[in-house]
Symmetry: C3
Subunit: 364 residues, 3 copies
């Protein structure tokens, strides 16, 4: 336990762990205070996500490059997955889809953009290995195609066609997971030479011993799951009370909460002129959500959801994902970065956030 | 005749020529067996297309670089043209358009993707001259714009507006043919120095003498036309009997049949690490169909079709062509290739094929 | 006054100034002759725009790099702004939006394409500094996103939602102006080293003395404003009489008139193998209209328009701007140019012009 306690002492972010018991207590005694519960659960999820992330990396560091890479690739977005599973079990498919789309867009535009901006304010011009950025951008492109095609084709067909959409969603889910797996084989195995070595040195903290890491992984996952229940339960009510649209909450707030821990790592990397790290975390995480988390959710909806969930997203969300993917491809294309590139990606994100914030409540 | 017989003896693909008389016999005696006729005509078209392709190249090889390049550029997709003409004469405009769109998409994603994959499984990293790839990709982009604009503008206008669409289609057809011609002037004449020399060394077989090549060209074109009649007549019935949607048959099956001969050359080139050849065949063929075959069909519809055909494609087809063009630009952008790039393009193709296969039958 | 008279003597374009008094006289005595007034006002605006452009550059040249860059960046499209203000005051919002969209598309495709073509016909291969082209293309991309998102999201919502669109338009206008300002800080201040020095050496004429330049700037702006009134009043009637659609006039004719002076500079630069100049004028001007002129018009509509104007464009216009931006990014990507690249961009422009020309009159 010693390394864990030491980390908590040195990392102010982890002091937020105090909100974990507070949120459970509040939920027991003030179950109707949606806004309070929403805020407390946000404050509790952020440090738990940081712990999960450190535990995953510690296990990865102990198990060698290939297994470690695989672990990071499957558990790297465990927080987002657990939150989405809570929403899935509650049958809140609009929230599930908004949080998936929002996580892709937030990682691609906000995390990447802010990394470039923060790094660029300190360093005149930064360089990074664009091979990895290209792999992730091309995986994101594939996922975008998988989202666009059903909508483009389904629109031509006025009928509800839900059977068609459901079969297609399962097929696409399997296909995206296969593509994600092939991407891992490519980057971890057959062509690891061109990807450089910074791949999963994510974060500078010393790795924990394997036992502690595994216990933390299991225990914290359970805690995240419990807090997520409160979060999902309170988010709609809180949105109403705070005057925010559900689209804004699902897209922007949930995504920022779920990704807070990774953002801390990405921004720190950028400030230290290790932009490979920042780009890898931001785009890697976006690709993982699009090609692993989303398909897993579709397939799991057959087991734990009230009805099967399909992959047909709100057209506005599809357009945002498409633009985010294009932006990512554009800004990482040259392998060089300056502050303005980051500002530009952030501006695209602000356009999305502003539109969702102003959107009349019943729309999406 | 000797070189022809020798080729037939050495090339197992050409043994399928035996199905040419079989399909005519079957059509005479079992005119209602759609599925049988469909399959026999497929088996007969494949070797005929290979012969056509070899004859065209032999004539091209004998007539010097410029004339030869022109010949390849106009007759290189003679099979697709003849099949589409048979459908045009029968007034099956949906099939004509599906086969044009399908040929563009199949050449761009399947032929290019499989070439990269097959080449990449043998060679760790392959390079190719990207100047030619860029020219073809930019021509494809122009054709895509010509398909997108009428739909984007026509949609705003709820009325049928068929006169507008018809005038516009003729104008766009002429424009695309001019662009195609300018592309030939650019690559064969004013800037041939940057295009390298591999351009039309398509295939390794020795060229035939000019007389044999011309006779084969004429005779085989007639045979393809006759078999295409059977093919077009039987394809709808066969699709129904096989449980495939007409969209899937038009897009995927017809395109694979029409392009089989070229695919054999492209794949062989990739395995021999001559990727310039593969990229040239795949993208060159797609550009030729978009900027030469499609306009010719629109203009010929005034002469041989029951009514004039316009260039307004099914919106799903326009989106697929757009994505295929973007994918081609993306995967050829760096001038380098590895197996994963090919797998990615193939996955995009599989997404299309899966969507069309599952599509409820009456849609497109 | 001497340098002004000398310029007029040596520049045949300025001889058209004789039409300025003619248009006022005609307006007084033949107020109903729409086509005549339209043509006369076109002939009068072209030389006035050339004078404005020279005056702006003279002031810029006298005030040092940073202030001069700022001046060029805000007054460089004064003609377009004044014409649009006249249409805004008349409440002709369709014309305002068409002229804004048309100016973006015309600068991006026609001015850039014709520069590449004219330069390429004289020089086998031309090179230019692509850093500046990339900055402008990325600003255009941001503006395109700002136009696409409201439409994509607004469509999902069937209600009129005009309050939403109006708030969003103000927000987006402010955001685009901030982005434009950041782009200036980036190119004129923090990273001016990578942008080269050709930035605002636009044109070869000797700069005028500051006093003359300022007086000309003020006086000619008033003249342009007065002629624009006649132009805006007569354009609709003239379009009807000439058998042109209002969409064609707004998009193509107004844009060509407003940009004639800049085109002369851009084409001259290309012929002299100073393509940096041409690319800077074409894309810089397009970015300026999208991120400065359009937002200014939206904000000013609250002060001088009959009702507030929003940023929701006709979907066809959004698609054209999107394609123009993509084309600009594509053709400037390599930093090299040959005649075919220019021909290609022009062809995309011809597709737009042809579609708008054939469009049934009531559509947009």
């Amino acid at each position: 336990m010693y390394p864990l306690l030491k980390d908590i002492r040195h990392n102010p972010l982890l002091w937020l762990l105090v909100f974990v018991p507070v949120v459970f207590a509040a939920h027991k005694f003030k179950a109707e205070a949606h806004t309070l519960l929403f805020m407390l659960s946000v404050l509790a999820i952020v440090p738990l996500a940081a712990l999960l992330s450190h535990a995953t990396e510690s296990v990865a560091a102990k198990t060698g490059d290939t297994v470690g890479g695989l672990l990071n690739a499957t558990l790297g977005n465990l927080t987002e997955l657990v939150i989405a599973l809570a929403a899935l079990r509650a049958g809140q498919y609009t929230l599930v889809k908004a949080s998936v789309a929002g996580a892709i867009v937030t990682n691609t535009l906000f995390m990447l953009g802010a990394s470039f901006l923060l790094g660029g304010l300190k360093h005149h011009m930064q360089e990074f290995n664009r091979v990895s950025a290209r792999l992730q951008a091309s995986l994101l492109f594939l996922a975008t195609v998988a989202l666009v095609i059903p909508s483009a084709v389904g629109d031509a067909d006025q009928a509800p066609a839900s059977a068609f959409m459901q079969q297609l969603s399962v097929g696409l889910s399997v296909l995206l997971m296969v593509a994600y797996g092939l991407g891992l084989v490519f980057s971890l195995k057959t062509h690891r030479d061109i990807f450089g070595s910074t791949e999963h040195a994510e974060g500078d903290e010393a790795p924990w011993p394997l036992g502690l890491a595994l216990v933390t992984l299991a225990g914290v996952t359970v805690l995240v799951a419990l807090v997520s229940e409160v979060f999902v339960e309170s988010v709609q009510g809180a949105a109403l009370e705070l005057g925010m649209t559900p689209a804004f909450v699902g897209f922007i707030v949930v995504a920022l909460v779920g990704g807070a821990a990774e953002m801390a790592s990405a921004f720190a990397g950028a400030r230290k002129n290790r932009l490979d790290l920042s780009v890898g975390i931001a785009l890697g995480s976006a690709a993982q959500i699009a090609l692993f988390v989303a398909p897993v959710l579709v397939l799991l909806s057959y087991v734990i959801g009230p009805t099967p969930m399909n992959m047909q997203f709100w057209p506005g969300a599809v357009v945002m994902i498409l633009i985010a993917t294009l932006t990512a491809a554009m800004v990482t294309n040259s392998g060089r970065s300056a502050w303005f590139i980051g500002a530009l990606a952030l501006m695209v994100y602000v356009i999305f956030a502003m539109t969702l914030y102003l959107l009349p409540p019943r729309s999406p």
